[in-house]
Amino acid sequence: MTSTTATPASATATAAASTSADAIISVRDLTVAFGSRRVLDGLNLNVARGEILGFVGASGAGKSVLMRTIIGLVPKVSGTIEVFGTDLDGGDKARRDVERRWGILFQHGALFSSLSVRQNIQFPVREYLKVSERLLDEITMAKLTMVGLKPEVADRYPSELSGGMIKRVALARALALDPEIVFLDEPTSGLDPIGAGDFDELVRTLQRTLGLTVFMVTHDLDSLHTACDRIAVLGNGKIIAQGTMADMLASQHPWLREYFHGKRARAVIG
């Protein structure tokens, strides 16, 4: 899992080698196409329980598509996806049990526009837990505090929030049920650097305390550096490299060199 590889063939081998019982998400030979255009082409990926996986790749490489395919929003052409050891093609019942245990932060927030912030956060909780209004309100406040928002925000509507606030509320909603996995699609884009730093810190804390597994698509080199245990790189519809930050820095793959040794990267990583 720690070796970095530049060629797709050996990357597949690495991914296969890291297949283990503790993989909480495992994706095998996944192919996704829109019309005749293949976005993902025989992709293999394992995410271990309790790790923070940073997922990078060029814009339009298919990161969001992979995330959406794992959570079942985009139909796949072939391949299997297992989450918590459950094959997600195994019927509605299995799916619903899994869905209760993950939380998703969409790239554009996807808050319910006709519900207030409070109602957005309470929505999944109401659906799955029979608890009092008082506890619902308290949990809402707890989640808002955790994501760094003031309690006054609770009764605003999504159209009255700033871009960064939308991200935070969406994270609070993703965390509402204390899920075991969270999928984050560019969580720190649109946050100020201090906010983004707090966000990384928060993800770290949650991972340590709740044993959260995090699948994080990001372009934020700071996040990759400080928050992620492992980094996977998507290119040409496959995982072209995976490993720690040190592995990424040592890699000779041209795109990786550009990404991790470019001007902006040097400013961050030095």
Binding site: L129, S132, R134, L135, R208
Partner: protein, 376 residues
């Protein structure tokens, strides 16, 4: 995974509350009950330890409830402490310690005030609607003159596109419905007129009714439901996604780019549809008169020629563009009034159709009075 428990154990002059099991969201209802009971502790013991060393799993729900218990006991005059936290869980408890007491959602006013409030707002809303309509009429006319002076600004492609949507694509359904209405009117007429032996007057009734009123009114109502709602939904969702703001900042005038082409398309479409509708209704009526009433086509036509004059046709056709403008203006005003939420989009689309139809009928009444006064 074992369910959560909370045991009370007396310890000298203190009390230990021993939490055990899984304190997680999945057990939230049970947890809430446990904590609710423990909060009511009014024992005389000053020192209370909340011992969480036996907790197998803790998440924010559990951590918050423990913190809530601690706060309640402290407020009750006890010396409450949380003990036995592992390092990991301590961070989590610290995290929830920062949580301020919950702010309740704003309470709805009493029933009576809510009703009065609603009535007041609605009346005020009528005024606002009228102002918005007049405002939009002015803006459209101004845009029209601007385009008139600089014809190159006219968006022909857009007009053609909308014309296809509101006119060409609407032809089948409009023709079908007006045909059926023509059939029904003729059948009812025959059925009742036959008693007086006045079968043939069905043709008069059909001709006048369809050309003057029914053709244009029915078609206008259909267009309000079909295209008015589409206009509102299109403009509304563009408004929601800041597309209209984007247009503005690029120096485009939203009225010129979005609304004028739609209005022009509608003003062209409605007379065409009304004409086709009237023809379909006459055809349907003629068919019924022939098959059901035994009025053969040639006598139907000659009777029709005597019964109606070109004035009837003109009266119908003159109304069509005016109604199109009314529908278009209402639809665009409602579309631009959409706020950020999906619910608001739904409300404005509904009210676009309702107001559109209402104003169409009001206009029809105004026209009826006008034509009666000038004697056509």
């Amino acid at each position: 995974m074992s369910g959560p428990t909370l045991e009370q154990i007396a310890k000298g002059d203190g009390l230990a509350l021993c939490a055990a099991g899984s304190w997680t969201a999945r057990f939230a209802p049970a947890l809430e009950k446990l904590v609710g009971e423990a909060e009511k502790l009014t024992g005389s013991r000053p020192n209370i330890f909340i011992d969480v060393s036996q907790v197998s799993k803790l998440d924010t729900f559990g951590a918050w409830l423990i913190e809530r218990l601690r706060r309640a006991l402290t407020n009750g005059g006890h010396e409450a402490q949380i003990a036995g936290l592992s390092a990991n869980y301590a961070t989590l408890v610290d995290e929830v310690r920062r949580v301020k007491p919950a702010v309740a959602p704003p309470a709805a006013g009493s029933h009576l005030t809510a009703v009065l409030d609603g009535i007041g707002r609605n009346i005020y809303g009528i005024g606002e609607t009228l102002v918005a309509l007049v405002d939009m009429i002015g803006a459209v006319i101004a845009a029209w003159f601007r385009v008139w002076r600089h014809p190159s600004k006219f968006r022909l492609t857009s007009v053609v596109h909308h014309l296809q949507q509101v006119c060409w694509n609407a032809v089948p359904i409009v023709v079908l419905i007006t045909f059926l209405i023509g059939c029904i009117v003729a059948q009812q007429g025959l059925f009742h007129f036959r008693r007086f032996g006045a079968d043939v007057f069905v043709v008069d009734m059909l001709g006048v009714l369809v050309l003057r009123e029914l053709g244009v009114l029915l078609v206008a109502i259909m267009v309000a439901g079909r295209s008015g709602s589409a206009y509102t939904a299109e403009l509304g969702s563009m408004k929601m996604r800041e597309e209209i703001d984007a247009l503005r900042t690029m120096g485009f005038d939203a009225i010129e780019v979005l609304i004028l082409p739609r209005m022009v398309a509608l003003v062209l479409a409605l007379p065409i549809l009304a004409f086709l509708g009237a023809m379909a209704a006459l055809y349907g009526g003629g068919l019924v008169a022939w098959l059901y009433g035994g009025v053969d086509p040639s006598s139907f036509l000659s009777r029709l020629r005597e019964a109606i004059s070109i004035n009837h046709f003109i009266v119908g056709m003159v109304k069509a563009p005016v109604m199109a403008m009314v529908i278009g203006i209402v639809a665009c005003v409602e579309g631009l009034a959409v706020q950020g939420s999906a619910e608001s989009l739904g409300q404005h689309t509904t009210s676009s159709v309702v107001k559109g139809i209402f104003f169409v009928i009001v206009m029809d009444g105004v026209f009826a009075i006008f034509f009666a006064t000038i004697g056509i």
